[in-house]
Amino acid sequence: MPEQTIPESTSVQDAPISDSEVLLTVDHVTLRFGGVVALNDVDFEIRTGEILGLIGPNGAGKTTCFNAMTGVYKPTSGSITFDGTQIAGSKPHQITALGIARTFQNIRLFPEMSALENVMVGCDARNKTSVLGALFRMYRIWGLPEEDLPRNPVRRALAKVIGVSRHEVEERRSRRKSWELLRFVGIADRADELSRNLPYGYQRRLEIARALATDPKLLCLDEPAAGFNPAEKEDLMGLIRRIRDRGLTVLLIEHDMRLVMGVTDRIVVLEFGSKIAEGAPAVVARDPKVIAAYLGEPDAA
């Protein structure tokens, strides 16, 4: 009998690692659409440097939770604190600036832009060039490292005298960073292709590269393995770990249990918009409420 072997879920919450600080707190968040309660008093936290899995059956409110965190929806009540800042109700671009990036469940790239350009849009989140700056290029920078100077020798000599515009420096750095990210996720071989022409797996990884380009502290992945075969899932697990090794915190929504169990440090389980369990993967997997949520309650029928 599972109920006897497993302690109550409240005590499971206290179990996981508590030595790192809290990065994001979802504090009693409720989100209603008319009469539908999409999130009901959801309450969890993400600690710096961990990989947190957010799982639950279809319609449990995982993506809604993501949308509330990234500014797409405003919670009806409750607060979300990221890095000491209250973000519930902020605009998406403000939240991106604070350091949360996300991918989408159904891929949403800019289809008519090349893979590289897609990533560069992400880089632009950290760039400062304004409309006037791009038009007149009056903001000059001197004393740049060699790699930020133009390659053309004449221009290079000129740059020593009149400086380089911030626009140009940022373009060059973004381009370099984009290439680096494309190599990191492993799709640099098709960087100049329009993103719509890329194969499915490439598009998924391009979304991750684009999100990484915004220099986030927290990366939220919404079902990144959807439609992947086992080999690709294995690759993805490696990629998620490497992302964590770059010093990022990862929040992962995923259906594939093997992937979730294999890569996450902790798991939060949602069902019908409420949190039903939280804890280490092995503990959550044995939680009777979780098993009931996924397999159905035997005595409910």
Binding site: V121, A125, S130, A134
Partner: protein, 379 residues
């Protein structure tokens, strides 16, 4: 549809020329641009056969060639500005003539000694009779007023998308015209005379006889504006606009402040429209509200759409076609509305992406066509 295929492929080949040049080395591009520019400068005196056949004043009652050239350059400025709004940011603006009017009226109201505004200012501050602002001072003023007008129109309306935005902007264009007609401080239906002309070393440089000088002025302005807009296109700003056009919500999540960039697109479009309006008013030396009818707006949109939205060169070509062809074939004047209508329908059917589309925009439309065909096949 099958008989149009060869035609299309020819068009496609021609349309590929600008992108081929885009990849050409510097030593090919620079002389080529200089060559084209010097040809444009020479155009008013064109008399070498067979090229001279493009002149519009070959027949006794033909339009003055230099005036036509000036109008083409003027409308090209308009097309470049509207291309920012429609082609890049993807906002359908049907009230562009409003900004054109704002530019024209800015210089008329502040630059003409005969306008009620300059008279009031002169009376208020004890300035001598006939005081008015200098032409050079009117340029930044007109741009500022247009920027403000763009923001005033944009701030409340840019939350709307697609057709709703189009309707609201159309209303704006009409409001400007009606305000100009019904207010006393704008000279009412009579308009304002004595709009100043650009300063020149020779006092009589910009006159009504040597119209080619006006054309050169407009051409110079056009070249500068194209250069500036291309800088925007290949920058963070241009990418942000593209991203917004492609997927506004995804762009927002990637850190693009969609509202801000849409507002900028509007404001930049507005100031380019105002610059064109300013040149127009200055050359006419006279503005009146009836010069800014709504159908001019539709003409502007047609230029960008026919030429190929999202591509500066396409927009320029569209402006050229729509301004030049009716002037060249004036002898068929009574057929003009019919020809214009047929041409529009033909282009929308055969080549909805415009004659020289942006490569991205072309594929978007191609896609939608396929989707429609697939949907039809499914049904």
């Amino acid at each position: 549809m099958t008989d149009t295929t060869p035609q299309k492929s020819v068009l496609k080949r021609v349309a590929a020329v600008p992108s081929l040049l885009g990849g050409a080395p510097q030593w090919v591009k620079v002389p080529l641009i200089l060559l084209v520019l010097s040809f444009c400068v020479y155009l008013p005196f064109l008399n070498i056969l067979p090229f001279a056949y493009i002149r519009t004043d070959l027949r006794p009652n033909g339009s003055d060639w230099s005036t036509v050239l000036f109008t083409i350059a003027l409308y090209m400025i308009v097309a470049v500005g509207l291309n920012v709004v429609i082609g890049w940011a993807g906002l359908l603006d049907l009230g562009y003539v409003g900004f054109y009017a704002v530019g024209a009226y800015s210089i008329a109201l502040f630059g003409s000694p005969a306008s009620p505004v300059t008279k009031a200012i002169a009376a208020q501050f004890g300035l001598p009779e006939g005081w008015s602002m200098a032409f050079a001072a009117c340029i930044p003023l007109a741009i500022c007023i247009a920027l403000i007008a763009g923001v005033i129109l944009g701030a409340p309306t840019l939350r709307l998308r697609g057709d709703y935005l189009a309707i609201v902007t159309m209303g704006f264009g009409e409001i400007i015209r009606i305000v100009m007609r019904n207010s006393t401080w704008t000279g009412g239906p009579a308009g304002i005379i004595a709009v100043p002309e650009p300063p020149a070393a020779d006092e009589d440089f910009f006159n009504t006889i040597d119209v080619h000088r006006w054309y050169w002025l407009a051409l110079a302005v056009l070249v500068i504006l194209i250069w500036l807009m291309r800088r925007l296109e290949h920058s963070r700003v241009g990418r942000a606009w593209l991203a917004i056009r492609e997927d506004e919500d995804a762009a927002a999540v990637m850190g693009v402040n969609a509202f801000k960039y849409k507002l900028w697109a509007f404001a930049i479009g507005a100031s380019l429209g105002a610059i064109a309006g300013l040149l127009f008013a200055s050359k006419q030396a006279y503005v009146e509200p009836n010069g800014f009818q709504l159908n001019l707006s539709f003409l502007f949109v047609a230029m960008v759409v026919i030429g190929g939205s999202g591509n500066i060169w396409g927009a320029l070509f569209g402006a050229f076609l729509i301004t030049y062809l009716p002037e060249r074939f004036r002898e068929f004047e009574s057929w003009r509305p019919l020809a214009f209508g047929v041409a529009l329908v033909a282009i929308m059917v055969l080549r909805p992406q415009g004659l020289f589309p942006n490569r991205r925009r072309a594929r978007e439309l191609e896609d939608r066509k396929h989707e429609a065909e697939e949907a039809a096949a499914d049904a």
